[in-house]
């Protein structure tokens, strides 16, 4: 019940956020030089052709009218017609949303799966060889551009040793997991580089806390102390790092999407900006905003689960 109320409150907060974001996206796009009609007709159109298409696309109306029309469309649950694709924006976004969500979800899972054991080892062997090795490996991964790392990994694991497919998205669930493994791994390595550092340092802080000594003094086994007391209390800051980073990954996977030919939202956004496909960019902006708010919501709920002191209100 509490979670439902909290979620509803958050959804209400979404309204001013969306208004602000759409207004900014709307205005920024129109400040950019280059208009869709000229782009579409290119070297083929005369001035009249361009004027006619501009009218057809509804781009000759005053800006405030265009913005209101867009808000009206949104209330009716549609984002209008894409200029480049000449068809409704909504279905085009939905078609690609799953690929992005799958990639983001899978990479987050992999990142968590790497973070917890590696951070524990690093914290327990503080300043030992393993700790340094983990640190150096992830600093190296973080310093490599994603497209370069991606191509290297593909070269090794798909061409020289053909274990994974070079790229693509697959058709069935298992097939998709198989296809998405390498791209998700590369994103996860970037995420884990941050979360391992963060978790390691809070683990070390918590290990020094008095209540840990108390827990040990009352005779709890090391494993119980480690997982129930130390790890649980250390997760808070890592959850926020993970949440922030995941929000970033949602819109920031363009490069990985290109290298691995995954039909996700990132590439659609970049190409739609280039094509000055106003309705598509607006639709995507709203989609990203909703996703980021959703991730923040999940992050907050995760706080409450990890730390009983946190109340959802």
């Amino acid at each position: 019940m509490e979670i439902l109320k909290f979620t509803f409150g958050r959804l209400l907060q979404l309204i001013p956020v969306l208004l602000g974001i759409t207004l900014i996206a709307f205005l920024l796009l129109r400040v950019l030089p280059g208009d869709p009609a000229t782009l579409i007709l290119g070297n083929r159109g005369t001035a009249e052709d361009i004027a006619r298409l501009t009218t057809q696309l509804g781009l000759d109306r005053p800006l405030w009218q265009q913005y209101l029309a867009f808000l009206g469309d949104m209330l009716r649950g549609s984002f209008g017609q894409s200029i480049a694709y000449r068809s409704a924006v909504g279905p085009l976004i939905m078609e690609r949303l799953w690929a992005t969500l799958a990639l983001v979800g899978f990479s987050t899972l992999l990142a968590v799966a790497m973070t917890i054991p590696l951070a524990l080892i690093a914290a327990l062997r503080k300043n030992g060889i393993t700790d340094h090795a983990i640190k150096i490996f992830f600093v190296a991964v973080m310093s490599m551009p994603a497209f370069w790392l991606g191509v290297l990994v593909v070269l090794l694991l798909s061409v020289v040793y053909p274990i994974f497919p070079v790229s693509g998205y697959g058709d069935t669930f298992v097939d998709r997991v198989y296809h998405l493994f390498l791209p998700a791994l590369i994103i996860a390595l970037g995420t884990a580089a941050l979360t391992i550092r963060s978790l390691r340092s809070s683990l070390i802080d918590v290990m020094r806390a008095d209540y840990i000594d108390t827990a040990r003094a009352k005779g709890l086994r090391q494993r119980v102390v480690l997982f129930r007391h130390i790890l649980r209390n250390s997760l808070i800051s890592t959850i926020s790092v993970l949440g922030v980073h995941t929000s970033w990954v949602i819109g920031g996977t363009v490069v990985i999407e290109s290298v691995f030919a995954i039909p996700g939202l990132g590439y659609l956004l970049v190409s739609s900006i280039s094509a000055r496909d106003y309705p598509m960019v607006q639709g995507l902006t709203v989609t990203f905003a909703v996703l980021v708010v959703a991730i923040n919501l999940v992050t907050d709920i995760a706080y409450a689960i990890a730390d009983p002191r946190v109340k959802l209100s």
């Binding site: 007709l41 068809s87 690609r96 798909s158 053909p162 590439y267």
Partner: protein
């Protein structure tokens, strides 16, 4: 996809999945051979997906290429792009006054089995000339259509317009099944079919399009494949790797610096298409010192085009003599401006710029080739005392910036949709016209006059002379620094026969055989 091929694929996937699990468990795997390609299916990877399959609303290459595989036109360019050959029309006649075009349709059927009739032709062409068409200008010269009988149609013009026949070979002049389009409206174009070799079976935006063979296609024995899958892989390197791993059979677009390495690969066939494209630098003749023809010529002499072709394109291109690609009616007497620093300096001195000058050049951002060319131009021009400042600009904004005249020099290119030079002469040399000599504002009265004449003259030696004279005048007037014609490298695996990119940039997958 045939049932045997489904089984084949599944086995392959299960096999690989097992391997995937094995790897996760930590066992070491030996290198494996890639799966052999399915005999009946073809997989092609290109960089961008089609946007729409409505021929009158398309202007991007992937949409155009796909439409040419699905729909037929009355006539079509020959494979070498030098002349027109019969398409849906098996023959045609043009009246001596150039006003009546009569087409006789062949016995062709749409993919749904319905015959293609004169009514479909009239409907499709009127739609292409209509309100909703981005290409209306190309078909407006036809003022009246007469259906003589179900297989014969006459197009009437008010005044002679020779490029008309070429315009009818455009994808936007595709012949659609009238009944279907009228019944389904815009929905039809989500899974369209025509009388062409293929029809859309599945389209996942941004991922792939599966084209199934049209069993009713009029060319017997074609297509040789049951299915062609066009995969979208944006990244150049990823496309190359996919081909090497055998996950696709053919790719279009290879980074220039990888072409020679792929040519050495025993498993691949590599080709470079000489597409109708010219790369050039626009010179704003409204601004000093580009108003002086001697300055513009000097810039052409100062640039080492052969070095650009060799160094930047790695030999995958040809030096340009004018703003026109090497196509029909090309003036082969013209030679590229030689690299001659002394001559360039002399011309600059004559124009009063012996000390040189400084200028800015717009360079489309995010394009590696352009970045390299821009630096090369910068150092070439430095030798004649021209100090070039590079100004990076987003590709999308470039066209509107040059159109508004807010530039001095701009690195750009042009491509032709038709195999007739009329479109590009009109675009790059005629002023006033729709682009005022591609935004250079260069004006040559004789070119304008010849342009009018050319559009009224019947195809033949007379028209050829007009085009050759126009091209020579563009060459001498030098409203651009003419750079090169950049080729399009493509590759296919050895078991694929007949995959090629044509000068018109598209590919005819119906001619491809998988062995």
């Amino acid at each position: 996809m045939t049932s045997s091929s489904i089984n084949h694929l599944k086995t392959g996937q299960v096999w690989r999945r097992g391997l995937f699990v094995a790897t996760i468990l930590g066992s070491l795997s030996a290198p494996l051979l890639a799966m052999p390609a399915d005999a009946a299916n073809l997989r092609v990877a290109i960089a961008e997906d089609a946007l729409t399959l409505d021929p009158i609303a398309s202007s991007d290459n992937p949409s155009i290429w796909t439409e040419l595989l699905i729909f037929d036109q009355l006539v079509r360019p020959s494979k070498d792009g030098t002349k027109l050959e019969p398409g849906l029309a098996e023959k045609w006649t043009i009246s001596p006054d150039g006003l009546d075009y009569t087409f006789t349709l062949r016995d062709a059927k749409f993919a749904n089995g319905e015959p293609v009739t004169a009514e479909d032709v009239v409907y499709s062409l009127q739609r292409a000339a209509g309100e909703k068409s981005d290409w209306a200008r190309f078909f407006k010269p036809v003022t009246k259509y007469t259906i003589v009988d179900p297989k014969t149609v006459t197009l009437h013009l008010d005044k002679p317009f020779t490029p008309m026949l070429n315009n009818l070979a455009l994808f936007s002049a595709s012949i659609l099944p009238k009944k279907e389009v009228e019944a389904k409206g815009d929905e039809f174009f989500k899974m369209p079919f025509g009388s062409g070799p293929f029809q859309v079976k599945q389209w996942t935006h941004g991922e792939k399009m599966v084209l199934a063979k049209n069993a009713n296609y009029w060319q017997s024995g074609k297509p040789a494949v049951d299915e062609a899958e066009v995969q979208i892989i944006n990244e150049d390197n990823a496309r190359v790797l996919k081909l090497k791993a055998g996950e696709v059979d053919a790719i279009v677009g290879i980074p220039f610096n990888q072409v020679s390495q792929l040519k050495a690969d025993q498993q691949l066939n590599v080709g470079v298409a000489e597409v109708f494209r010219t790369d050039l630098v626009q010179l704003n003749t409204k601004k000093k010192p580009f108003d002086d023809q001697r300055v513009r010529q000097a810039l052409n002499y100062a640039v080492d085009k052969a070095a650009l072709v060799k160094g930047v394109l790695r030999g995958n291109g040809k030096e340009a003599v004018s703003s026109l690609p090497v196509m029909a009616y090309h003036n082969s007497d013209l030679k590229p401006y030689p690299h001659d620093v002394a001559k360039a300096k002399a011309l600059l001195a004559e124009a009063g710029y012996e000390k040189g000058f400084s200028a800015s050049m717009l360079v489309p951002s995010g394009d590696v080739t352009y970045r390299q060319v821009a630096s090369a131009l910068q150092s070439s021009l430095k030798q004649v005392g021209v100090d070039l400042k590079l100004q990076s600009i987003e590709g999308t904004s470039q066209y509107s910036t040059t159109k508004a005249g807010n530039y001095e020099m701009s690195l750009s290119y042009t491509t032709s949709d038709t195999i007739d030079p009329d479109q590009l002469i009109g675009f790059t040399a005629v002023n006033p016209e729709r682009a005022n000599a591609f935004h250079t504002e260069w004006k040559d009265d004789r070119v304008n006059e010849l342009y009018e004449l050319e559009r009224r003259s019947a195809d033949g030696p007379e028209r050829e002379k007009q085009f050759k004279e126009m091209e020579a005048r563009v060459h001498d007037g030098a409203p651009f620094i003419f750079l090169y014609h950049q080729g399009v490298p493509y590759a296919s695996r050895k078991n694929i026969e007949g995959f090629e990119v044509l000068p018109t940039s598209n590919y005819r997958l119906e001619d491809v055989v998988v062995k």
